[in-house]
């Protein structure tokens, strides 16, 4: 007896309501934009400069006392949050302190960190010094980091657009890229909505989502291309449905194994990379959805060349079989 996530020979009709699905995605994109514009992202110091200090104490953390202790130092905008994690020991109380970039200083000064340590230890005798970690990024670098990050995402999408265009047809490329942009926007949207810290690692996650979602889309498209040749007389709608149903089992298997691995990391991997893993989990779910309901729906909308018997220069250059 085999474990089956999807029963054999499914025959779902994915496109009877394709306008609805595209509409839903469009709506989510609008919501993401609105959230991004109204609320903005909770940028980490990578992107806005400043200092974060990770404190560890044997005493329970009282954010209020910490704040009061630091107020005397006149550091400007200070935010303090306690961190909870199942991997922490019983006497391990962790807090993150974020201090805005100080006037006239690129990176934080050693004396400032020392002062913070002294001030906090006065109210919390259980505080461990030196701090578990201190990270400081100057405004100059953070500006550049945002720029490079944005360029990286755009470059990745552009590279993919070109690759799919060369391997398939332009309609496929447009479908794939719309799906990617959809995934990226929705991920940024949820980060803005939930105010999860958005730092450099999240950009890496975004690019991985781009890679994963694409992976999914390409597998479906590959089958579509094959079936377009096989069923010359069927409607595009039908061909797409057949292709998605045929690959559905694989889609779910891969998503399931990837999610399994990611969830293990989310629960047990510690709080340092939790945001990063969250982005990827979200990306896998959204990416799977988008390769069926966005990429393929766009393909249906745009229509596609039906006669694949005469390959042109830009199409049909499938990789040769390996003859091992």
């Amino acid at each position: 007896m085999r474990l089956r996530l999807v029963r054999q020979n499914t025959n779902f009709d994915f496109f009877s309501r394709w306008r609805l699905w595209l509409g839903l995605s469009a709506l989510l994109i609008v919501v993401s934009f609105a959230s991004f514009l109204l609320q903005g992202l909770n940028y980490g110091i990578d992107f806005r400069g400043g200092t974060t200090i990770r404190t560890e104490s044997t005493e329970p953390v009282d954010v209020g006392t910490y704040r009061a202790a630091l107020e005397t130092l006149a550091l400007g905008d200070v935010s303090i949050s306690e961190v909870f994690d199942p991997t922490f020991g019983p006497d391990q109380n962790v807090a993150m302190i974020r201090i805005q970039a100080q006037e006239g200083e690129e990176a934080v000064t050693a004396t400032l960190i020392e002062e913070v340590g002294v001030a906090l230890q006065a109210v919390d005798p259980g505080l461990k010094l030196p701090f578990a970690s201190v990270e400081s990024v100057g405004p100059k670098v953070s500006g550049e980091l945002i720029q490079t990050a944005a360029i990286a995402v755009v470059l990745a999408i552009a590279a993919v657009l070109i690759y799919i265009w060369l391997r398939f047809e332009w309609q496929f490329a447009v479908g794939a890229v719309v799906a990617l942009v959809h995934d990226v926007i929705l991920t940024i949207g949820i980060f803005s909505e939930l105010q999860i810290k958005f730092d450099l690692a999240i950009i890496a996650a975004l690019l991985t989502i781009v890679g994963y979602s694409l992976n999914d889309t390409v597998v479906v498209f590959d089958r579509v291309r094959e079936n377009l040749i096989k069923y010359k007389s069927k409607d595009l709608n039908e061909v797409l449905n057949i292709s998605i149903n045929e690959t559905l089992s694989r889609t779910f298997m891969t998503s399931a194994t990837t999610l399994l691995a990611l969830i293990a990391l989310f629960v047990l991997g510690g709080d340092v990379i939790r945001g990063f893993v969250f982005a990827m989990i979200w990306g896998v779910i959204v990416g799977t959805y988008s390769s069926i309901f966005v990429a393929s729906a766009i393909l249906l909308w745009l229509g596609v060349k039906r006669d694949w018997s005469k390959p042109t220069d830009t199409t049909g250059n499938q990789f040769g079989n390996i003859d091992a």
Partner: protein, 553 residues
Amino acid sequence: MLQIDAWKRITIWLTLLVGLTLAMPNAFYTRVETYNDAMQAIELGADTTENRDAASVWPDFLPSGLVNLGLDLRGGAHLLAEVQLDDVYAARMDSLWPDVRDVLRPERATVGTIRLQPSEPGTLRVRISEEAGMARALELVRGLAQPVVTLTGVGAQDLDVSGDGNDIIVQLSEEEKRATDERTMQQSLEIIRRRIDEVGTREPTIQRQGADRILIQVPGIGSAAELKEIIGTTAQLTFQPVIGRTSDENDAPGIGNELLPSMDEEGIFYILEQAPVVTGEELVDAQPSFDQNGRPAVNFRFNPSGARAFGDYTAQNIGNPFAIVLDEEVISAPTIQSHIPGGSGIITGNFTVEESTNLAVLLRAGALPAELSFLEERTIGPELGQDSIDAGKIATIIAFVGVLIFMALSYGLFGLFANVALILNIAMIFGLLSLVGATLTLPGIAGIVLTVGMAVDANVLVFERIREELKTAKGPARAIELGYEKALSAIIDANITTFITAVILYVMGSGPVRGFAITLGFGILTSVFTAIFVTRLLIVIWFERRRPKQIEV
């Protein structure tokens, strides 16, 4: 039919063997680390029995490459420094003034009086009283220029000399600036490396980034502040003529002079000539020592040209004070008692033993040609790093076991084949990482976990395809063959696109993100290899032995 040539089988087995051998040292991490440290010490000349013993814990014939642990896993300090390249232009112009004065002096009749004018740092402005002599003056000053020493700036001169009314304006030419920048960066890198080596720490990373930045990562160091103390001081030592002493910090020092505070005496300032007699660059040695009163001091020795300049100056200025200046602070300003010909001397001040030792280290390593400013700094405590490793390990194992069980349940025997491939896959990733000496970071662990999840994708694609083919094809052998054949283009397309994003991440990213890109990229390579070749080989071997009439995938 299902067949794999013998040479292909051998290649596959060999590749696996190499990968596993390369990965193996990581299973004995601390032991191999001890071995590597000992070997390095022996190579550097510390061939003691202790080191020999330490080296014997790991056999020499086995590979000893390890995956480096990133700062976020091991703890340590990370600094991104920006070299203030403009400083060097300014210093060059400051030291040019005496030369300009000297070439113009003999021509007083044509150019009139020569006076240094205040100017922006990096430009030299000299006023002559006779405008008619301008052409001659410009010609003379241009005579000071020298050809730029670069490959590209052929024929270019290092100085840009122009006239502006009665003023001669001298600047470094663009070509010279570029050449100077290059030199400054090389020197800074070299000096930072020497200073960190003097302190002796394991595997520091010192890398140039972009035009004017240097990335410094030192594992195991307590804090970024400590690291900054070692590399952040420029240690510019100069010996400058003293003009006067004052307690008013707003005193105008006069053009060509500067006002610098005293290191020991609060509120005392010295007026010094800006152009130094000798600089720390001419030092060949510096050692911590004690002066005749038993106070900590630093002994130093000049190279021949430095010794000559120092000797000449002391001979001509007996009875005058001169200042020993370190990083814009006057350490001391002794009066020259006699001609000092030997080129060696002693710096005394209010040092502690530690300070004098540090100063000697800094002087020996050489001065940084320009000041550093720090744009980014991160300190990660060793405990946090250990916590991250522990959490990452547990998460990876759970993820791994989960995927293994899931695959076995879904695909039975074929799932087991995929699982063997998956285990080999992880080993291969570690093998590759060790081979290139890559650094494993926390996001890198996430990359491996993600690979575990995604590596099965290629197998899933094939197995699903075989299932489909079983419905139509004639016999299991044909179904397996077709399954591999038809799934191939999807596997290749899907993995190339992911690989593209990994490459972009690597090129654009930095630090931990780069670590993630490396494991992701390697993961794609190894997972395609194990899925297409290894599982297939396993299936074929199984098929040849059993010759099943029907199969269930």
